[in-house]
């Protein structure tokens, strides 16, 4: 990405402005999302948690896990408006996607609020990673990529909204599967519902666009996917144990303890299984849509 690209003003051609449904699958998602908006302060019984009986060490571990969750979710607070702008800047992009993204951002705001509140209950939200080496891994500046004209929009959507959001969904399902503490379960059930829609958005958009993508555009998609795997996934953004440039042992330990305590986490091993299984499924799904994602080698796990 060049700085020059980020200082130019993209020109929008607003009219003719088509507001009709173009992608029925995404229109349905939009409709579903509108019906599932809720207020964390009012719709969750924050006293329903059973945290008093949980050991301090377990609470501390979970606090670390849930604070990290808030940091990751927060990425969307700037990324989604940027992506929405990008859809509006590109002529002829579908209004269903634009409308959906507005609700997606509401859901992200809800989840940031929820993860922050729960971290507070666990002993206090942490404003940054204990190890500063994590900061560049988590601080991805997706909003800049989303608005960068050098990054093709379709490639961006496939990498971040289909592949990445799909992985997030599977990880949250794993967190939920391990959650016994009632409040954690409630919050993760809400999260999974939202993240299911987010992943469906990405995959539905690819399904809609796949037929019209040129060979060159498909090549861009593959490059972006590989780049995302190498620089984001393998850096430990979602699955800390994948990191090779940062010592993830403290994160893994926290995950292990929080998972065992039923506080809505997954162990490193569980997360890696989720990743492997998900990538295998996603690769087949991409292949069926004409996107051949090659195996990408992780320094420790080998080709994935």
């Amino acid at each position: 990405m060049t700085n020059e690209a980020l200082t130019r003003v993209p020109r929008e051609t607003r009219f003719p402005l088509n507001l009709a449904v173009s992608i029925p699958a995404i229109d349905r998602l939009y409709e579903e999302s509108k019906l599932d908006i809720w207020a964390p302060a009012d719709d969750v019984d924050w006293t329903s948690g059973q945290l008093d009986a949980i050991a301090s060490e377990q609470l501390q571990a979970a606090r670390r896990v849930w604070s990290r969750r808030a940091w990751l979710e927060y990425t969307g607070i700037a990324e989604t408006p940027a992506l929405l702008l990008r859809f509006c800047l590109e002529r002829g992009r579908e209004v269903d996607a634009k409308f959906f993204l507005t609700v997606r951002n509401t859901e992200e705001a809800e989840l940031v609020d929820v993860f922050h509140r729960y971290s507070e209950l666990l002993g206090g939200y942490l404003v940054r990673p204990a190890d500063p080496a994590w900061e560049p891994v988590i601080n991805r500046r997706c909003h800049s990529d989303a608005l960068n004209p050098e990054v093709p929009l379709d490639a961006y959507v496939v990498a971040h909204c289909a592949l990445e959001d799909g992985l997030e969904l599977e990880l949250f399902r794993a967190y939920l599967a391990n959650a016994r503490e009632p409040l954690a379960r409630t919050l993760l059930e809400r999260s999974v519902a939202a993240k299911t829609r987010h992943a469906r958005f990405g995959w539905s958009y690819l399904e809609w666009r796949a037929g019209s993508l040129s060979a060159s555009a498909r090549g861009d998609v593959v490059l972006t996917l590989v780049d995302w795997l190498r620089k984001v996934a393998f850096a430990g953004y979602h699955v800390p144990s994948l990191a090779t440039a940062v010592d993830s042992a403290p994160e893994q330990q926290a995950q292990e303890i929080a998972a065992a305590a039923g506080l809505g986490a997954a162990t490193a091993m569980q997360e890696e299984h989720v990743l492997r299984d998900y990538l295998a499924t996603a690769r087949q799904r991409l292949q069926a849509l004409g996107v051949a994602l090659p195996a990408v080698s992780h320094p420790r796990l080998g080709p994935l």
Binding site: V9, F15, L17, A41, A109, E135
Partner: protein, 309 residues
């Protein structure tokens, strides 16, 4: 994506870290708005019984006027989807309080439902029109908010003051006026719901500015004032919301005539002679409030149709 040649000092090109990520620093008033927005959701798809809405009582003339009016509203609301989200990126860049960052996400979603319901109404009454007439384009196109929000050299406070405390405040008061004149139940309901949302949007602007103004330098306060003046003179008084303020053209005359037809039937519009005092009162109230609360003095505005305001 086509790219214009103009370059500026964009926040996107600046190094930035989200850490320390403060989520506990709150703005209580904006937090209340966030909560109210999340609990006051409504759905354009179901808020009106679209299949049951009987068009027989409407004349052809009224239907045509309604489709034009709501198409125009859809274009206006769409601007808040296509441009204002840049403000949220800016809020994150400027590390503003969590409530401001989170509230604006919901605010954009509310704007999308305004665009959606406007589109649905236009469709219902004969079909949404996807573009204004050529000679009317200048009155309904971009505010330039996207560019302003991303420009490091433009304080975000000036954009909020102009867009929210000025432009949206004018719309809010115009809508309150139109609501009083509207008797058709479905259209009245739509105005009520949009008004409820817009009241929160305006409240956000004033709460936001109350917290930020004390932090601004005199030069930045000057930028706030200039931005408000530009918004009122170049956008509002150019007919962005009120067709009778737009430069005379066949399209603006058609719009004015359409609004008259709707006003006569209580179908959610007003006319120049009634809107003019509301506009003047709104602009005067904005000037008074900015002087009183911000110690910022706006100039006298002028438009051939209103004289000095």
């Amino acid at each position: 994506m086509s790219v214009a040649n103009e370059t500026f000092n964009s926040i996107l090109a600046q190094p930035e870290s989200c850490f320390p990520l403060e989520l506990g620093k709150r703005n209580r008033n904006i937090g209340k708005l966030l909560r109210a927005s999340l609990t006051a959701q409504w759905n354009p798809a179901t808020i009106i019984d679209w299949d049951g809405l009987d068009l027989k009582p409407f004349t052809d003339e009224q239907r045509q006027a309604l489709r034009v009016r709501w198409s125009r509203r859809a274009w206006g609301e769409y601007g808040a989807i296509a441009e204002s989200p840049a403000l949220q990126i800016r809020f994150c860049h400027d590390r503003l309080d969590a409530d401001t960052r989170l509230y604006f996400a919901v605010r954009t979603q509310e704007e999308s439902r305004h665009a959606e319901i406007s589109y649905r109404l236009a469709e219902k009454f004969g079909g949404y029109i996807d573009a204004p007439a050529e000679e009317y384009l200048g009155s309904v196109s971009t505010h330039g908010i996207r560019r302003l929000a991303l420009d490091v050299d433009v304080p975000v406070e000036s954009t909020i003051a102009a867009l929210v405390c000025s432009a949206e405040q004018v719309i809010l008061e115009n809508f309150m006026h139109v609501l009083k004149l509207t008797t058709q139940p479905d259209i009245r309901r739509v105005y009520q719901l949009i008004l409820r949302d817009e009241a929160r949007h305006c409240a956000f602007g004033w709460y936001f500015m109350a917290g930020r103004l004390p932090l601004l330098t005199p030069a930045q306060r000057g930028q706030v004032r200039d931005a408000v003046v530009t918004m009122i003179e170049k956008v509002e008084l150019n007919g962005y919301q009120l067709a009778w303020l737009a430069p005379d053209s066949n399209a603006s005359r058609d719009q004015i005539e359409g609004d008259r037809i709707l006003w006569q039937a209580g179908l959610g519009a007003s006319v120049e002679e009634l809107e003019k005092p509301v506009l003047i009162s709104s602009l005067r109230a904005i000037r008074d409030r900015m002087k009183r609360e911000w110690d910022i003095q706006l100039p006298v505005f002028h438009h051939p149709k209103t004289g000095q305001i």
